[in-house]
């Protein structure tokens, strides 16, 4: 006898532990998910670090042009003495060297050296008006486990810019893989000369023929810097008066100049970011700005000042663009040195240059470092800088605000994470995805809230109990349909049908409610003796017939209606009348499909809320002579309203997080508009689409996790609010 209470006690305790353990496990796993997401997102907030690493000697005269290999083992430098030296970054030992002026009779070395956009050429200008171009390649081989980087200084191309042999004041040169070279220079009398060497290979003989052409143009202003893009199609110049000049080139010939003013301070540095669209301009007064061509109202392109970075304490001398993104380094007078990112408009780091008089600057190909050349203690130096810069492209503004992307006419919200080329500018604005999420949610709730709530109201308050028994399991089946099936049906079956049946659908939206109201009115005019013969709640059968008739009428009238109202084609009419395009997989389709998925959730919770309204309140109201409708609207609905709110919130949460339906039933285009006949892309679908392609740990990967975090927060908040409201409702019911 005594063992029974004891075993019961044990069972009781065990049950309590198991239940508590289960509950805690759920809480911990949710927290675990949250922590995991946070851990993946958090690095987005890391700041860039730039640290001076090592200074090694760099023989020869100060080198203004530097190139580094991918693995940061070698640096090629072109000095004023005309020699290319490839040195080891570890100790400054010279690995290879070549004299570009070898065999030259004229004395005196180079007037200046530089690296043109493209990061594979060293160029220099001679005192006799020639430009020398030396391509440098770094080959990688493996000797056993060791990586061997072999520099290769290829054949030097010399282009005589000034036929009279005078030195160039400003110049720039490019050489492409086919051997086509262009050099542009400004000589002392203000003439701009462009020399183009094109090589054509005879397919039959294999002979190559060279043609050299030369164009001249008088430039009124005093040009300080020239830059030629790597495709040799655009020439940019900065002047002492702060003007930016831009000449598009066709076959080396200059088009009309397009001038823009960058203020009065002389342009001291000019370079193109990767992709050759964005121009970084550094000025005498320390101004640093990014420009790119934008379309003007007259149809032409003009350089537009898009972003300004904070003014630096001295003139900008060197700009080194990144090889992999829209970032760049800048070096200026008084030893300042900075790391910037164009798209996100971020000044990632500024500080002091490791060398007081920096002459050359190169950003390493992997973006993990930089090399500066300069003079220190009477000899040439090469300073290495380590850069840790994981996610420069992300700021709150770039994620949620408008960003002026290259080639766009104005700042806008764009999500376009990848492009076909390496110089593509990733556009990671979450705003279109948030808008898409809200759009999908709103269109589906537009359907689901009225149907779910009114359906629940009808079922719980008016419907005959016999039908209620069949209806509730039916709605549960609706809820148990896998969303991938719904999405599949919506995308492949429903969407094309809706496209055809759009006029009928429009007609239904107007006709069906009218018809139901009319039928209700007609019913109320029937003699009471007739009406009272039907048990309460069976009138609904009549309305099923009315609705079926209405739907049939709408389909029957679809074609005539389309002809009369929409000129025979709804889609064309829509475009002509409102300017809205019709996309087959659109918000209406999603609204129907996702609405279908959300209805059972809203229905179930709302039905609960209605049914839990104590029956003695209903009886009390009826006993006062109120009819059922008055009872429902004046007593049941106000009492159940927190539950209805909660139902809508939970439905909202479900719609926000729903993935498969929106993935399959929309075109997944991240556009921002509220046109019901257009597609969209939601946060959840975006994660599903892009996470398999996102490189682990990169910005896109972490941004997708940020999207996941946003979804988590949204659904968590919505569900918490819903639950709190529901608890309050429960308290309220317990008082009644």
């Amino acid at each position: 006898m005594s063992s029974t209470p004891r075993s019961r006690l044990l069972a009781d305790r065990a049950a309590r532990w198991i239940v508590s353990a289960g509950g805690l496990a759920i809480i911990f796993s949710i927290l675990g998910i949250l922590v995991f997401i946070l851990v993946e997102v958090w690095p987005l907030t890391y700041n860039a670090r730039v640290e001076a690493a090592k200074v090694v000697p760099l023989p020869g005269s100060p080198a203004g042009a530097l190139l580094a290999d991918e693995h940061r083992t070698l640096v090629a430098a072109l000095g004023a003495d005309g020699r290319v030296r490839v040195v080891r970054t570890s100790d400054g030992g010279v690995v290879a060297a070549r004299d570009l002026l070898a065999g030259d009779t004229a004395p005196g070395g180079l007037t200046a050296t530089s690296v043109p956009p493209g990061n594979r050429l060293l160029t220099g200008a001679t005192r006799d008006g020639r430009v020398l171009i030396a391509p440098v390649e770094f080959g990688v081989t493996f000797a056993g486990q060791d990586r061997v980087v072999t520099p290769e200084i290829e054949e030097v191309v010399a282009l005589p810019v000034d036929p009279e042999g005078r030195p160039l004041r400003a110049w720039s040169a490019q050489l492409d893989e086919e051997g086509n070279a262009t050099a542009a220079g400004v000589i002392a009398d203000g003439r701009l000369i462009v020399v183009r060497r094109s090589t054509t290979e005879n397919m039959m003989t294999g002979e190559t023929t060279e043609t050299v052409s030369r164009f001249e143009r008088q430039v009124p202003q005093s040009v300080t810097v020239l830059v030629l893009d790597s495709a040799q199609r655009n020439l940019y110049a900065g002047t002492a008066a702060g003007e930016i000049l831009w000449w598009p080139l066709s076959d080396g010939e200059l088009d009309a100049v397009r001038a823009s003013s960058a203020g009065h301070s002389a342009v001291t540095a000019l370079d193109l970011l990767i992709g050759d669209r964005s121009l970084v301009i550094g000025q005498e007064n320390g101004d640093l700005s990014v420009w790119f061509p934008t379309e003007q109202s007259d149809g032409g392109d003009r350089l537009t000042r898009v972003r300004d970075f904070p003014r630096q304490p001295g003139a900008v001398r060197e700009i080194a663009p990144s090889h992999r993104n829209k970032g760049f380094l800048a070096l200026g007078d008084r030893g300042w040195f900075g790391l910037y990112y164009s798209t996100s408009h971020r000044t990632l780091w500024t500080g002091r240059s490791p060398l007081a008089n920096g002459a050359g600057l190169v950003y390493t190909p992997k973006g993990d470092g930089a090399y500066l050349s300069g003079e220190g203690a009477g000899e040439g130096k090469l300073a290495a800088v380590d850069i840790y810069n994981p996610h420069p492209e992300v700021t709150w503004k770039s994620l949620f605000g408008r960003v002026w992307y290259e080639g766009a006419d104005r700042p806008e919200h764009v999500w376009q994470s990848t492009g076909g080329t390496d110089d593509f500018e990733p556009k990671l604005s979450l705003t279109p995805l948030l808008v898409g999420t809200l759009k999908g949610t709103i269109y589906s709730l537009l359907l689901a809230i009225p149907l779910g709530v009114f359906g629940a109201m009808y079922t719980s308050q008016f419907m005959h109990p016999t039908y209620k028994r069949y209806l509730k399991p039916l709605v549960e089946i609706m809820a148990s349909l896998p969303s991938v099936v719904l999405g599949f049906l919506a995308g492949l079956w429903l969407a094309p049908r809706i496209e055809d049946a759009m006029p009928a659908l429009v007609l239904m939206a107007v006709l069906l409610p009218l018809l139901v109201l009319l039928a209700g009115y007609a019913w109320s005019r029937l003699p009471r003796a007739f009406r009272n013969r039907f048990p309460l709640g069976t009138e609904a059968i009549l309305f099923v017939f009315v609705l079926a008739l209405g739907i049939w009428i709408c389909f029957a009238l679809s074609w005539p209606f389309e002809k009369v109202a929409f000129g025979g084609n709804f889609q064309q009419w829509l475009l002509a009348a409102t300017g809205l395009p019709y996309d087959q997989r659109n918000a209406v389709v999603v609204g129907l499909a996702m609405g279908f998925a959300v209805i059972p959730i809203i229905f179930a919770i709302a039905e609960d809320a209605f049914s839990n309204v104590p029956s003695n309140l209903v009886a009390g109201s009826l006993a006062l002579g109120a009819d059922r409708w008055q009872t429902v609207t004046r007593v049941v609905l106000p009492t159940a309203s927190p539950g209805i709110f909660s139902a809508i919130m939970v439905g909202f949460g479900r719609a926000v997080g729903e993935t498969m339906i929106v993935l399959m039933a929309t075109g997944n285009t991240p556009i921002m508009d509220w046109n019901p006949f257009n597609g969209f892309r939601t946060l959840s679908a975006n994660i599903a689409v892009e996470i398999p392609e996102a490189p682990h740990g990169e910005t896109l990967y972490r941004t997708l996790f940020l999207a996941a975090l946003l979804l988590f927060i949204m659904t968590f908040l919505v569900n918490t609010v819903a639950e709190l409201v529901r608890q309050r409702l429960r308290e309220r019911f317990s008082q009644l």
Binding site: L617, G625, A626, T639
Partner: protein
């Protein structure tokens, strides 16, 4: 006149009421297959208090709810026989049930104020009937609360939630709510079963005050209450009307043994 009733006259069932306001005629009721009321006939006098007594499950509440057809809400209920209210039949298929319920008010076992303010609870019925003018409503609310002897207690907090009132106050509020629509009959379904003796006494007192204006039918478990408040008492047992007569007669000199056994506490 009611010749047919005179023919079947049984002194234990017919106290000979003149001009009854309600005439229950051979009423039977089934819940599905189960018969809950057996052929009940009784007449309810105007502006008197009639009590239905009997043990649990005897059908007294069911009978009460037949009078305002609140049993219609229950699925599978079927009735035979009739209830005549004035000149009309309560079960006439042409009847507007809502209009009937306006004339026959009801107070429930568990007080059921709406989750609204005190004012709105009382104004609910008049609003349903289409009275929306503030001044009219104010007047109705005050008059009803005064008649329900609640005015002095709540006049300063008419806009507070009715759920904040005590149980007895809530029940009086429900009475005020019922009389706000000016019914002719008030049905009280064990109105004091959840109340303490003081609150019960106040309700009983109130019932006496209301007698001058309303016909009242009360279902009660409490025989003392029935004997205290009612003028006529009907004793039901297992769905049958055993005895019906003036309260004095039923309690002091019952004609049936079952009645005597019940009121003397031998079963129930």
């Amino acid at each position: 006149m009611s010749t047919s009733v005179i023919q079947t006259r049984d002194p234990a069932l017919d106290p000979g009421i003149q001009d009854p306001i309600l005439k229950i005629e051979n009423l039977s009721l089934w819940y599905g297959e189960k018969r809950a009321l057996h052929d009940i006939s009784l007449q309810i006098p105007e502006k008197q208090i009639t009590a239905f007594i009997g043990p649990s499950g005897c059908g007294k509440s069911t009978l009460l709810r037949c009078i305002n057809r609140l049993n219609d809400l229950i699925d599978g209920v079927r009735t035979e026989g009739d209830i005549r209210f004035g000149d009309a039949s309560v079960y006439d298929p042409r009847l507007d049930i809502n209009a009937l319920r306006k004339r026959i008010g009801m107070v429930f076992q568990k007080s059921n104020p709406f989750p609204k303010s005190i004012y709105e609870n009382v104004a609910y019925g008049p609003r349903i009937q289409g009275t929306n003018r503030k001044r009219d409503l104010d007047e109705i609310v005050e008059r009803s609360l005064r008649r329900a002897a609640l005015w002095d207690e709540v006049k300063d907090r008419l806009n507070d939630s009715a759920l904040g009132l005590s149980g007895g106050q809530q029940q009086r509020l429900c009475i005020a709510r019922a009389i706000a629509v000016e019914p002719e009959v008030i049905l009280l379904d064990e109105p004091c079963s959840a109340l303490d003796p003081i609150a019960t006494a106040r309700i009983e007192e109130l019932m006496q005050d209301l007698k001058s204006q309303y016909t009242q039918v009360i279902v009660t478990h409490n025989m003392q209450q029935a004997s205290r408040v009612s003028d006529y008492t009907a004793f039901l047992y297992l769905g049958e009307l055993i005895e019906y007569g003036s309260t004095e007669k039923v309690f002091i000199n019952p004609m049936k043994k079952q009645t005597e056994d019940y009121i003397t506490g031998r079963f129930g």
